[in-house]
Structures are given as structure tokens and as C-alpha cells.
Subunit: 378 residues, 2 copies
């Protein structure tokens, strides 16, 4: 079933008349999620509970959108607006319905629906002025129903994305050399990803002490001997991989590096056992931290992020937090996809992170990617 | 003067106590604009009118943010929040001021402050709940004052970005071959851009009839003989270039292609004359269209976008619309930067666009980039 029709079914079941996506300059990823292409100018998508789906687009993007929808066999009417007045007038028509869902995460800093909060404050205000009688409700529940667990096709795409990403990680020792800049390596990784799809996020390439920043921005620093961390992923057919390998360049790593590496491998293996359908999402992180503590690592100081996050269309996708602070009632759902990425970071020295992608199954998980049992030395 | 202090001066002059930037998953480009690096997790920046600037960040990003601010000699206090409760509690402190600006474009679909509309609807709602006594005002005027016209340093960076982009455009005939896919070429362009900075936007590589879509998504289509359009740019030191060249691959182009190409070159030259400080922003587009009409082109049908847009930190930056439908009182400001990009598009056949970047000066403009007088054939 295509996404428009699937969403229409969800709308009907919830007694909501339509789902309006308001997008400008790529402000809402649900535009590409539904259209299959990137429309950059201001446009609106109305998914209609009764199947009368509409897109409102500027003249220069409408033909491209029509072609993409035709190719995907989506029956959607694409209308063109030629001025601001025309846009508002069409929008008035589209929103003349009792209940419309918008991608709004109510009170998003305090409530757990931040994942649905895409619409800008001024856009929602405008919609309420344009259609004062319409009840605009949050699409949070719809987004979760569409994207929280993955379809067989999505899981297939994810496995393929992971496979292609691993090929790229495996090849790294063949072309990365001491003296190249982190940016050069990042650029080359992006080149590989863009040939197939696109990077899931800006690749993190960190040499030596830069690896101590989990979200290090790849810089003009020249790669030196020592820790070499790469955190990168490929978005392919709308599914994002996210993998981190930690290499060692030049000679043999010191024992404390090897010990930490092996402790993280073991911690991942242990935590994986708790990533299963129905399992509490707080537990894997707790078990990981318990193990690290048993090996003498001060996890509160050294493991400064949660164990994982949901993966999907976005690299930080919607889904339960995989963190020891997750609420008790938060559980894993079958066919949800997560990262499992324990890390240990010593500021001014180095960081090690071993990140894999897993699919939640009944009784356990499928680890789709892998990390080398021993660090790759080159 | 650094950006924090410049912004603080603007706040003081406007009797506003602070400017709060709320950012999550790169939702507001003003985070990178101020911090100089990309912080991806949820964080807040408070620019304080009295100079007590603050950043509220997660544990894993705080050291990286501190290092970036130290390197840029910005005196900013970076605080760490370790839980949602702590984030809210710190945020309550930060926002306990009478008037705080946020990046909110009031009624943004109907009012001309859409450029300031970054904060998500649910985030603004939360802020209003956290600080019910605070008057949250729109930062639109501040954003315009900071970014509407460019500083000498920014213009220098822009000129450098343009120069490096042109080097890449000039080299295209040396390595692009019939049979490569559009994506391969896009990936290679991105590789070049990421080595230096980053692509200003996803490069548009369009072969033959795909060039008729101004925002074509580079595809797996193999490049064939005929029109070959590349629209790409480099973001370097926070300034974005945006250039389009239209090449012809394989043999000699037909006369109708050459005629249209030359008409666009002449139309650009004419419209450039009206891109000067104090000039109405509607006029260049009008003059361009008049010229195209005089050469027999049905511009309403064939030239399906405005003549240009502001350029700067973002590729579609803030600034007056360069379009014949711009209001009468909309004028060019000295040292604002725009694209001048006339185009003609025949669906199912081809499109031609010749885009250059210009700086508004008194009495005229400085065209920073260039397009070949005759199309490059290769």
C-alpha cells in the first residue's frame, strides 16, 4: 500500500479529515517521506482521509513533483500557486475541514512529542487565522503509526544501506593516510554516499583527541598516528544507517586503548540481549553501564551519552529513548530499528565508540552491522 | 566586533533583554551562525543584552562548543544539562527576563517575516509555559540587522567562495563524460565542496530534459548528449555561493539553444544595471522579462521563477525579493548579496539558466561570478 493511502486509513480510524504538511526550505522531512523527492520552495501536502490528496506547489517545482508522484503511482492532485494571495486562497480551500492534523509537538520541550514538532510557530499561527473554524490537532500519533516500526521493505532497504556502508568502512584503511585532513576523509565518504543515496548525517571523522567529542565536526586537522574514529551512515531508499568504527593508525595501540575497545565490544554484546520486543528500553543502557563499571570504568564520567537511538528515515528517528533514564513503561517494539553505540571518552586524549545498527525482534535482536572484534590497525 | 557583542548592542538599542535561540537537530541555522560549529543535540543560546551570554548544551557536546567559542575568543558561559528536568530548570533561569527575542516569524504565511520563523510551534508554546511573565518578541528585526547586508569580512569570504566554485565549474568539461550518472557528478561536486567547506545546497545536475525542472533532484539518469546544467555552490566561512552554468555536451548545439542562451546573457546584463543601492527590487526582473519578450520568448510560460534571491549564510538568504511582484517600497541595500539567474524552460525538452552572484553597490552592482559568453561545448 502506498504511504498516502496508508496515512488516509489512519486518518479515517482517528476521525481526522486530513493531514497537512507545511514545508519550506526542507523544514519538514515528511515532505520527502511522502513525495519521494525534495521540493525546496514553500509547499503544502494534504493527505485526505477520503483519498482526495493534494499538493500545493510553486510553478517551477510542480512538474517535478507531478513526475515523481506519477512514477510512484500515487494519485495526488498537484496545484500551482503563482502568488502569495493564490497560495492563501488555495490553502483556505484545503483547510476547510473540521479536523486537520499538523506536525506539531504540543509543548515539545516538556512533553514527549518533540519528534512531531516540525511546523514553525508562525506557520501554525497563520493556519489558525486562515481556517479559524478548523480544529488543528497534533500528528504525533500518526507519525508514530507510520514510522515507529518498519515495514519489510524498509527493513530490506536498511539492511542494504548497512551493507553498503560496511563496504565503505572496510575500505577505509586502503586509502586513508596520515597527513590527510579529517575534512578530506569526510568529503570522500560523502562522495561514496552521494553516489548511492546521501549521507544520513554529516560524517564524523576524528583523529586522536578529537575523537573525545562524540559529535566532533570534521576539521582541517591533519590525521596523525593514534585513534581514528569514523561515524557515518548512508540514507538509501529512505532508510538511514549509522555506524561507528574506531581504528588505530600507525603501529600498535597501547594496552589501555585495547582494554577499553574490548570492554565496549563486550558491553555491546551484553546490552544487545536486552534489545528485544517488549523489553524495557532503559535496561540495555543500564546493563552496559553495569558491565563497564565492573571493568573499572567510571561510566558517569566517561560514557556521556545514551546507548542508542531509533533509526529510520532520519538518523535520529522517532522511537523510545534507549537510555537508563527512559521511563519504566517504555518498551521496544518488534521491527523498530535502533543503534547500539557504547562509547568511552577521555577529554584531551581520545574517545572510542563502537556503533552498530539492530532490528528489534521477538526474543532478541538482529544486529545488522558489525564492528571488528579487534580494532583495525593500519 | 564578534557576533555576540554585535547582537547584544542591537538588543540594548531595542530595549530587549536577550535573544534566545532554541535548536534541535539543526532546526535553526543561527546556532551555527553564532557558535561557528554544528551542535546537533537540543541546545539553547542566550545572547544577553548585558553580555552575560549563555549556552545550554548536553554533556557530550559541551566540551566541543566550549573549544569552538574559546578559539573564536567569544566569552560565553556553556552550561550542561543532564536531564530534561535540569534543562527546564536552567531554561527557567535563562528566560527570567522581561523581554526576550526568539526566532519567530509572526503569522509567517501572511506576513513578510517568514525568514525569521525557525522556532517550532511546540517549542514556543513550552517557552511561554516555562516563563509566563516573559514577553517573547520576534527576532525578525534583529536577524535582518545582523544578516541583511554583509560586512567587509563576509564579502571577502563570498568572493573567495565564488572563486573556488568557478574553479570547479571550469574543470567540469575535463572529467564529466557521457554515460556517467547525474548523481555521480553531483557526488563529485560535493566532494570538492566538502574538502573546502560544504555545499551551499544539494547540487543540481541535470541532463537533457531534466534541465527543464529548475529544482531537479540529481538522479540515476545517465548523462546523454545535449543540454547539461549544473547549479551548485560552496559555503565557505559562512558565506554561500550559488552559480548555474548551462553546458552543451557532444557536437554543436542547435540554433534555438544558442539563441536562448544569448538572450539570457543579454537579459542578465540589462537587469544587472538595475541592481543597485536604492533601486526597486521589482525592476530588474521586469526589465529582464521585457527584454526576453522583445526577443519573442513567452516569459510568463518559460521563465517560471523570480530573477534572484538574497545570498549569505543560507543559499536563500534573508533580503528583499528580486521579482516583478515585489512591493514598490522594496529597495536594494548597499552590500546586500543576490543571485541574478534568468532562465528559460521548455518541459520535456530542456532548460537553460545562467546564474551569477552579485553585490549591491552605489550606482550599480559588482558581479562576482561570471557565465561563459558562449556556452561551453564538450
Amino acid at each position: 500500500m502506498n504511504k498516502f493511502d496508508k496515512a488516509a486509513g489512519l486518518l479515517k480510524a482517528r476521525n481526522i479529515d486530513g493531514w497537512l504538511i507545511s514545508c519550506n526550505e526542507d523544514s519538514d522531512i515528511h515532505s520527502t517521506y511522502f513525495l519521494g523527492i525534495k521540493s525546496h520552495a514553500r509547499h503544502f501536502i494534504l493527505i485526505d482521509a477520503n483519498g482526495n490528496h493534494q499538493v500545493l506547489a510553486v510553478e517551477m517545482e510542480a512538474p517535478m513533483i507531478r513526475k515523481a508522484l506519477d512514477q510512484a503511482k500515487m494519485k495526488v492532485n498537484v496545484r500551482v500557486y503563482k502568488s502569495g494571495e493564490e497560495m492563501l486562497s488555495f490553502l483556505k480551500e484545503l483547510t476547510a475541514k473540521p479536523r486537520i492534523a499538523v506536525n506539531f509537538g504540543e509543548d515539545s520541550l516538556q512533553q514527549p512529542t518533540a519528534y512531531a514538532d516540525y511546523i514553525r510557530a508562525g506557520e501554525l499561527q497563520s493556519l489558525q487565522k486562515i481556517a479559524p473554524k478548523t480544529d488543528f490537532v497534533s500528528a504525533a500519533d500518526l507519525i508514530m503509526a507510520m514510522r515507529g516500526v518498519k515495514t519489510p521493505e524498509e527493513l530490506k532497504a536498511l539492511r542494504e544501506a548497512v551493507k553498503m556502508t560496511l563496504d565503505i568502512f572496510e575500505a577505509i584503511p586502503k586509502w586513508v593516510k596520515v597527513g590527510m585532513t579529517e575534512r578530506e576523509v569526510m568529503a570522500k565518504l560523502h562522495y561514496e554516499f552521494f553516489k548511492i543515496g546521501e549521507p544520513s548525517f554529516e560524517a564524523i571523522v576524528a583523529s586522536c583527541e578529537n575523537s573525545a567529542d562524540p559529535h566532533h565536526n570534521s576539521s582541517a586537522r591533519k590525521i596523525a598516528k593514534g585513534v581514528f574514529l569514523v561515524d557515518a551512515g548512508l540514507r538509501y531508499e529512505q532508510m538511514s544507517s549509522d555506524i561507528t568504527w574506531t581504528y588505530w593508525i600507525g603501529g600498535n595501540p597501547p594496552q589501555d586503548f585495547l582494554d577499553a575497545y574490548h570492554a565496549l565490544m563486550a558491553a555491546k554484546k551484553i546490552s544487545n540481549q536486552y534489545m528485544k520486543a517488549g523489553g524495557e528500553t532503559a535496561v540495555p543502557d543500564q546493563k552496559c553501564r553495569e558491565y563497564l563499571a565492573s571493568k573499572g570504568y567510571d561510566h558517569k564520567k566517561l560514557f556521556i551519552h545514551g546507548l542508542g537511538h531509533a533509526l529510520g528515515y532520519e538518523v535520529h528517528d522517532i522511537g523510545a529513548r534507549v537510555s537508563s533514564v527512559a521511563p519504566k513503561n517504555s518498551v521496544f517494539e518488534e521491527n523498530a530499528v535502533y543503534s547500539n553505540e557504547p562509547g568511552l571518552y577521555w577529554q584531551e586524549k581520545w574517545g572510542i565508540r563502537l556503533e552498530d545498527d539492530i532490528i528489534i525482534k521477538k526474543g532478541g535482536c538482529e544486529q545488522v552491522s558489525y564492528n571488528p572484534v579487534d580494532p583495525i590497525l593500519f
